[in-house]
Amino acid sequence: MRKKREEAMKMGRKLSAKQQIVHFIKYFKAHPFLYLMLIPGFFFLFIYKFWPLYGLEMAFKDYNIFAGANPMDSIAASDWVGLKWFERLFSSSQFPVVLRNTLVINSLKILFLFPIPIIAAILLNEINSHLYKKTLTTAIYIPYFFSWVVIYGIFYSLLGSYGVVNTILSSLGLSRVQFFTDQSVFRGVLIFTEGWKEIGYNTIIYLAAITTIDSTLYEAARIDGASKIQQVWHITLPGLLPTIVLMLILKVGYILDTGFEQVLIFYNPAVYDVADIIQTYVYRIGLGQANFSLATALGLFNSVVAFILVVSANTVSKKLLGRSIW
């Protein structure tokens, strides 16, 4: 009987609702603590992840923070305005700017930074000395643990008006570059610092994937006289392909969700035109100018599109690689 039920469950929930309830009660009685244990996690999940979802109602209301007893209560007490905020948003001149910046900055990051860790991992794998390899790994990995503020401080020191880079430029007879306020170079600063922080982390992911490639393949290739480049091209890269595809899917899937803290810390009014992304704009109009409803509408737009992207990314990943990204 029990075996039958388990089999039925494996086959895809062939149990009737009643059987399921009986099964649940039985399990609950045998393992009450397993369910009690879930409470702390759910407590925080509901407070910080699900309760704000209810707050999205603000996007369709004329939110007045003083309408109710507390800010969340005020949401229910505020008046419905339909799609007013979305109309205002989509007709504003700022919307296309922040949407374009978000897509351009994150696409450039993928374009320039995506291949580097793959190459780095392949090269790192060629380093014979174990100690030297470890030293190199440590060196390229450590910036990943610096906060964006620390990285801002470091690059402020390097790239400031009187930073070392400008000193070198001027000693070469070139003019100084205002890296943080010049619209033509600011995106470059974002891309470079992103790479500086993240390359080590991604390299280690690829390095771990390389070690799973069957080493006899290389031996065989060498006996057949394959050059190093040919080995990389015909063995290493195909072996890495699932990881490469997965990483790319993830990067594209999260294209609307990345870069917020970095831009928030690095940017300033002089570069808003090229650096202001959706989330920084949401932050400024929402919590800076107290335009809560408009900000929530834009946040909701962002969340919906991001959701569609991530779910599509997951579908692609399942189709191509047979694995879910979460």
Binding site: L38, A139, I140, I204, W326
Partner: protein, 306 residues
């Protein structure tokens, strides 16, 4: 062992050797790109003020002085902000680990009815975000603005970390747990006495991931706190970088300046930024060698989940 190695070396063709040499050169260059900026900031933090202000410091300190460091430590809020960051990191990591383990353990039981639904809730919360304005309103409503709780709440349970923990638990041999339960151990006893001791590596890894999150986070601390006594290290650092000039002017104009006398020459805006950055990196660099292997494990654990 050595024999095969020698044979391998002998077998190496010129093209292979060229490839290896290129690997050494390129990777060394990449590592230097990562290290030099840190060296630069460190050098600036302890070099003479004139040299710093005129951009003559590269990657080695010159005219070494510690007045800037002393100034940051003694005359600014550094220690208070460090204290805030430490409290948030330690308290936050403890809370997060508690919720993560107590959630991951039941969800790792394949036979638990309702498990799929619970997992689904965590996945949904991962892919759909309510946005920063509603989140701010929640924190405001809870009445915890400007407290440590507001900074801890967003990371109280990070879904990704919970899933890393869950898949580790799923990989543990079931037989040991079953034996304990036959001996009459409850689920809590099994978790505490058997599962947790068997999971030390993943617990170390996930704790570190949380600790790094808490230590480095700027946005939540900036958004949810406003009094200057609640500033964390990251907020403090950001203020110094952006308002270093104002800091310095208050120093020169106030009575403080006259007391410091000649040594003032050494304290510059750039030097202050460099010293503050250096002081906030030191804890990370100091801990890093001891925890690196757990952090590397964290990446590989994360990337093989699913």
């Amino acid at each position: 062992m050595t024999g095969s190695r020698i044979r391998k070396l002998k077998l190496k063709s010129t093209s292979e050797r060229a490839f290896t040499i290129a690997a050494y050169i390129i990777m060394t260059a990449l590592a230097l790109i990562c290290i030099f900026p840190c060296l630069h900031v460190f050098s600036k933090s302890i070099s003479g003020g004139n040299l710093v202000a005129t951009g003559q410091i590269y990657f080695t300190p010159k005219a070494i002085q510690f007045e800037t460091m002393e100034y940051i430590l003694e005359k600014t809020e550094f220690f208070n902000c460090l204290k805030n960051t430490l409290i948030v990191t330690v308290l936050g990591t403890a809370i997060s680990m508690f919720t993560t383990i107590t959630t991951a353990y039941p969800l790792s039981k394949p036979k638990m009815p309702g498990r799929k639904l619970f997992v689904m809730l965590y996945v949904i919360s991962m892919v759909f975000f309510g946005g920063i304005v509603p989140a701010y309103m929640v924190v405001n409503t809870l009445g915890i603005l400007d407290t440590y709780w507001a900074i801890i709440l967003p990371f109280a349970i990070v879904q990704f970390n919970m899933f890393v923990m869950k898949s580790y638990f799923e990989g543990l041999p079931e037989s040991i747990e079953e034996a304990a339960q036959i001996d009459g151990a409850s689920d809590v006893q099994t978790l505490v006495r058997i599962v947790i001791p068997m999971s030390k590596p993943v617990i170390a890894t996930v704790s570190l991931l949380y600790a790094v999150n808490y230590w480095n986070n700027y946005f939540h601390a900036m958004m949810y706190t406003n009094s200057s006594s609640m500033r964390t290290l990251q907020v403090y650092l950001y203020d110094i970088i952006n308002n270093g000039q104002a800091f310095l002017e208050s120093l020169y104009s106030g009575s403080l300046g006259t007391n410091l006398g000649n040594s003032m020459v050494n304290i510059t805006t750039d030097g202050m930024v460099a010293a503050a950055v250096t002081l906030s990196i030191i804890p990370i660099i100091a801990v890093y060698p001891f925890v690196q292997r757990y952090l590397i494990k964290g990446i590989t654990l994360g990337s093989v989940k699913g």
